[in-house]
Symmetry: C2
Subunit: 146 residues, 2 copies
């Protein structure tokens, strides 16, 4: 018997991801206001390239939980914006290694500040130990389903 029987109505928010949608929308608005001309999805790709530059599209798929066509098109758009460059790997010519341009490197600091600011607004008034529990629960959910 499950101990997790949901009351109606509680179910809806969990499935639709109300909270993360609200965070993403707020972050997008802040990017726009700051004149940062990137979508949240593009930013999420840059985010991983800032951590490690020159990784393959497949590694970006794994890091961002997207499928290959999604990454192909995000990289297409980032390339069009001159924020990344595809360089086909010498070691394995099936692979594209994705490199940040100087322009993208300049976005890092400002956009990360805006992201932190957004999360602080989102979590205002929530005690740290409750944030911790929430994060752990969401991680378990992800692990249960992946």
């Amino acid at each position: 018997m499950s101990n997790n029987h949901f009351r109606r109505g509680e179910l809806y928010s969990f499935i639709t991801g109300k909270a993360s949608t609200a965070i993403a929308r707020r972050l997008q608005k802040k990017f726009n206001s700051a004149g940062l001309n990137v979508t949240i999805e593009q930013w999420s790709v840059l985010y991983h390239l800032w951590k490690q530059d020159g990784i393959s599209q497949q590694e970006l798929c794994n890091a961002t939980f997207r499928d290959k066509p999604s990454i192909t098109r995000l990289v297409d758009n980032l390339e069009r914006l001159q924020l990344v460059k595809r360089v086909s790997s010498d070691a394995d010519r099936r692979m594209n290694l994705i490199y940040l341009t100087r322009q993208a490197q300049k976005l890092q600091e400002q956009s990360m500040e805006i992201a932190e600011e957004t999360l602080n607004e989102a979590l205002e008034g929530v005690p740290p130990e409750r944030i911790e529990i929430c994060k752990e629960v969401l991680q378990i959910v992800y692990d249960n389903l992946k």
Copy 2:
């Protein structure tokens, strides 16, 4: 001073909604396997109509946190699938009242069971009091940003 300063990396999952994305993908797969020919987004509209039939598109916007064009097109698609019908209101002819068809009424029980089952899988191993805290935190996040 904020007590919610995020360590790098924690930030990412919150913004991208990894957990709710995983739930939605699992639910969609289960719908497909069961031969339920609806998307999660369409289901989320039906969900509110099952609670109250014959509401306006604007009310669906509020209930589902979507903008008007999104609801216009979801209702377009639901109408094409013969799951809902637009009926223009006598009282205010700007409004469309959206009514479930018999076919949509038949989907309710099975799809709600699948949704509950999915959430139970997602939350397996999470004690109820931690689910409660998680829900409260996500609600505060939403309220902080809306």
